[in-house]
Symmetry: C2
Subunit: 195 residues, 2 copies
Amino acid sequence: MRGRPREFDPDDAIESAMGVFWTSGYHATSLPELLEATNLSRGSLYAAFGDKHGLFLRALDRYIADSLTRLDADLDPRKDVLDGIQACLARYVERTSGAGAKRGCLIVATAMELGSQDVEVEQRIRRFFKAMEARLTTALERAKSERRLADEVEPSTAARLIMCLLEGMRVVSKTNADRSSSQAVVQALLDRFAK
Amino acid sequence: MRGRPREFDPDDAIESAMGVFWTSGYHATSLPELLEATNLSRGSLYAAFGDKHGLFLRALDRYIADSLTRLDADLDPRKDVLDGIQACLARYVERTSGAGAKRGCLIVATAMELGSQDVEVEQRIRRFFKAMEARLTTALERAKSERRLADEVEPSTAARLIMCLLEGMRVVSKTNADRSSSQAVVQALLDRFAK
DNA sequence: GCATTTTTGGACCAAATGGTCGTCAAATTG
DNA sequence: CAATTTGACGACCATTTGGTCCAAAAATGC
């Protein structure tokens, strides 16, 4: 027998929970906040996700998946490589300006808060950075083969550099958001690395 | 009348507290942990520092002061500019390798955890980044005037770029520490910006 | 030695924490 | 419809949280 079906959509709940974790971080988010955001009762939440930690992992997975989806869209191999990279950088400029800047990035915040204490989280963060680095490397290798990169620029190193730069922008812009300065930074980067 | 003098050194207590906050973050650090690390009783700690938050601010101030001191040592205007910048970068490579990498950076962690919720913290973090950016800018301007910088490199933009890159390295290396890769990144940076 | 001042340490507190559980409602299936 | 499975809800729980307070001790200055 199937029994009574769920009244709520787990995906919606995860999405809502993600928003709270994103805004407040893991430890600073309390169960009551999660319950209010998801419109769930304690019982339902625990039945569906195990516990706070389990729900957090689901929310983190969602955030990571979204990020990689966007990255893949920007670096679409059917588009012009440099345009793709530029689009990717532009997205980060956008995210490090205005209201979005203050909210920061769930991945960066989680890496710093739990990265070295929670193995399940650590795995996920590590994989994300590996994936991001790999995608950037692929794009840069393509650019290189098309002779669109400055000489002596090694794709995998440049990929790591760009990744670090972008994540660092998210950190700094948490308190020192400045669109034009972010803009100038990525422009300077392109000027130095692209032909 | 003077009354009974303190039995402990507040600076030592701050130092110990800083270590705990550095390892665990603000919210994840409990009073008992702080008491054990500082060897203080509740009463003494509250009399001396007000509350957990007050102690945290003192610890953060200490960490920031130490960081700026090191930066000033590296970028000493009496030394060769490029050597100074190189030393500064090398220090970050060191800090993003091995055990230190997992511990991360208290400033970055705090920026992400409290940067947009705690005004006193926000101020301190903002000032730190401003200070770091200013010092890098000054150094780069000096390099520029000595014609040691690649043409078209604008000091203040490059300073912001380097700062973001370094802080980003601390984020990424929290879970993906790799000395040779950090090394390669800063080398690539220098290759592209210095003459 | 005495009075005063300050520190110390821990008992104590209210509030909030994450988590469990039992009861009732609801939908499905035969 | 009846039986059964499952979900929803909120009361309840032990623990831990950050914080207060007070009695005792210790060092000072007179």
